[in-house]
Structure formats: structure tokens, C-alpha cells
């Protein structure tokens, strides 16, 4: 097939795709029009039932909490997979490099110097990033936020520490053992909240804590806030673990090839 023929086939395909796509867009309901019943039902009952004004979190951690457990364990298993594969490789490499460069991470690295500007910006951003991450993870019940978003933002704070300092600083503030433990506590904590409800004779993941008096207060919504906290731990630790392993791989490989 000549490039010319291929281009015509591509153009025909893209024209067809564009036509179907635009057709589909035209058929969508207008902005603010919602035809289904569930959103309206949730809007009406969610705040009264859960005392959470962050209705998205109420849906995620309460009405469909069981689905969210599954989603959380997807990330948990993914992070575990990264750790299993990369830590095995690291051991191999350390064996191979034995006697040549040693495995001390502060010796023999040939990482390019980070510019002072990047270090300064990263340093300035670290504090606010931690505050924002913590706020997001602890305000799932009041605002459009939650443990997942907060956890990832917290993890980026640790990446900023790496940028501001060096890999050693990243390792010092997030030792692998601690990160592993925090991730396990986060994932297990979510499941444990569900099992606690079962132990009390309630269905799995029933909101067994007091809902508080004021809807939208940080102390309101019972297990929704608690689950969001555990999700924040799990997600933050999982992302730190994944990025840490990748950093480890990159730096150790440079060490080995240098």
C-alpha cells in the first residue's frame, strides 16, 4: 500500500469518526439538563441522610462504598506489583555492581545538578502543597475533595522535596518500610471500617459512627470522613512508593552505567 492510499483511508476514517462524534454530541442533553432520576434523588436525600455536604464523597464512601473498596485495592495491588518487580531488579543490580561502585546511593552518582531556581520553587511550594493535600483529604465530607485527591497532592509534596533536595532527602522523609506500612494501614483501614459494621450486626460498610449535628461540619458524616482519611493514607503512600521505586531505578541505573 502506498503512503497516498494510506492517507486516503486515514482521511475517510477520520471523517467518519468526526461525523459520528458530532452526531453524538448534538444528541447530548443541554447544559444543566439531567434526564435521569438517580441524581435528583441523591440531591434530595444525601445531605439529610449523611450530614455530608460533599455529596460526591457521600456517594463514593457511603452509597457505593463497596465499589470504592474495590477501586482502592486496584491501586494497592498496582503499587505492590511495582514494588515486587522493581525491588527484585534492584537486588540483582546491587549484586552485579558489587565491588565496582558499591550500593551506597550517595557515592558515584552522576545525576545532573538541579538549578537553584527549581530548588527554590520546590522548597517554597512544599509547605503549601502539604496543607492543600491535608485539607483535601480531611474535607471530603464538606467540599468537592476527598482522600484520593488529597493523597495524590500529598505525594506530590514528597516529589517536591526530592526536587528541592536530592534523592537522599526523599528517602529520609519517606523510608520504604514506613511507606509500605502506611499504605497497608490505609488500604486495611477502609476494609476494617466495613468489617467493624459487620461485627456490630450491620451490613458491610454501614455508617456506624455519629453523623454530627451540623451538616457540612468537618466532624460530621461519620464513617465518610474516616474512610476518606484512610483512602488519603493509602493513595498518598502508594504514589510515593511508585515514584520512589522509579527514582531508585533511575538513579541506581545511572550509577551502574557510570
Amino acid at each position: 500500500m502506498t503512503p497516498g492510499q494510506r492517507r486516503w483511508i486515514f482521511l475517510a476514517a477520520i471523517a467518519g469518526l468526526a461525523a459520528f462524534y458530532l452526531w453524538g454530541l448534538v444528541g447530548l442533553p443541554g447544559f444543566g439538563n439531567y434526564p435521569g432520576p438517580y441524581g435528583d434523588v441523591i440531591n434530595r436525600i444525601a445531605v439529610a441522610q449523611t450530614n455530608a455536604t460533599g455529596v460526591v464523597s457521600a456517594v463514593n464512601f457511603e452509597y457505593r462504598g463497596f465499589d470504592t473498596v474495590g477501586e482502592e485495592f486496584i491501586l494497592f495491588v498496582a503499587a505492590t506489583g511495582v514494588a515486587v518487580v522493581l525491588r527484585h531488579l534492584r537486588n540483582e543490580r546491587e549484586r552485579n555492581a558489587d565491588g565496582e561502585t558499591g550500593d551506597a546511593p550517595d557515592e558515584g552518582q552522576r545525576v545532573p545538578e538541579t538549578s537553584s531556581a527549581i530548588r527554590m520553587v520546590a522548597l517554597i511550594m512544599t509547605g503549601p502543597t502539604i496543607v492543600v493535600g491535608w485539607w483535601l483529604a480531611s474535607h471530603a465530607q464538606t467540599d468537592p475533595s476527598g482522600g484520593f485527591q488529597g493523597g495524590v497532592v500529598l505525594a506530590t509534596a514528597f516529589i517536591l522535596i526530592y526536587l528541592a533536595g536530592q534523592f537522599l532527602a526523599f528517602q529520609r522523609v519517606s523510608p520504604t518500610d514506613v511507606t509500605d506500612a502506611v499504605e497497608a494501614i490505609g488500604a486495611g483501614g477502609f476494609a476494617a471500617v466495613g468489617v467493624t459494621a459487620v461485627a456490630m450486626g450491620l451490613p458491610y460498610l454501614t455508617n456506624f459512627l455519629g453523623l454530627g449535628i451540623t451538616p457540612g461540619a468537618v466532624s460530621s458524616s461519620g464513617t465518610i470522613a474516616l474512610i476518606s482519611f484512610f483512602v488519603g493514607l493509602e493513595v498518598g503512600a502508594a504514589f510515593i512508593l511508585i515514584v520512589g521505586e522509579l527514582l531508585d531505578q533511575t538513579l541506581l541505573l545511572r550509577e551502574g552505567s557510570g
Binding site: 444543566g32 475533595s145 497532592v153 504514589f239 531505578q249 533511575t250 541505573l253 545511572r254 552505567s257
Partner: protein, 98 residues
């Protein structure tokens, strides 16, 4: 259940819906353009930067479509963490080639 009853619950929109349609179409085009950039750029490191820009555009899309929580996720995962993973993978590959 009358429509008026529904309106008492749903927050009334202060932005004219026609304007929102224009905004939505604009952001959709922006996302399509950013995605095309990611595919067209052939230098991997620049491609990762384009991917980050695409993540930000997608975050704006979610915001315009009234999903601020998804915006937060996309902003951190799509614009920060995913590009960092790609950059680290590229650094590793480059180190092996030397």
C-alpha cells in the same frame, strides 16, 4: 412531582446555558488539540511535556462539565504524576543507552 419542586432543590445556574455550551465546545476543541499535539510531537521528552499540558486541558474540561472533584484528580495524576513516571522511565532508558 412538579418541575418547580425540583428547582427548589437544584441550585439555579447563574451563567446563561448558551454561554456554557460555547465554553464546553471551546474546551473540547482545546483538549482535542492538546491530544493531537501529544501524538504529533516525536521527541519523547517534549511529548511528556505535551502530555502534561493535555492533562491540564482535561482538568479544565472536567471543571467546565461540573466535576470539580475529578478535576483535582486529573490535575494531580494527569498533569503531574503520570508525566513524572514517563520522565523517569525515559531517564532510565537514556542511562542504558550511554
Amino acid at each position: 412531582m412538579t418541575p418547580g419542586h425540583l428547582l427548589a432543590v437544584v441550585t439555579p445556574y447563574t451563567v446563561p446555558t448558551g454561554l456554557m455550551d460555547v465554553l464546553q465546545v471551546t474546551v473540547l476543541v482545546l483538549v482535542a488539540a492538546a491530544a493531537t499535539m501529544v501524538v504529533v510531537i516525536r521527541v519523547p521528552v517534549r511529548q511528556v511535556i505535551a502530555l502534561s499540558v493535555y492533562g491540564i486541558a482535561l482538568a479544565v474540561l472536567f471543571l467546565v462539565f461540573q466535576a470539580p472533584d475529578v478535576t483535582l484528580s486529573e490535575l494531580t495524576v494527569g498533569a503531574v504524576v503520570l508525566p513524572i513516571m514517563f520522565l523517569l522511565a525515559l531517564a532510565k532508558v537514556r542511562g542504558r543507552e550511554k
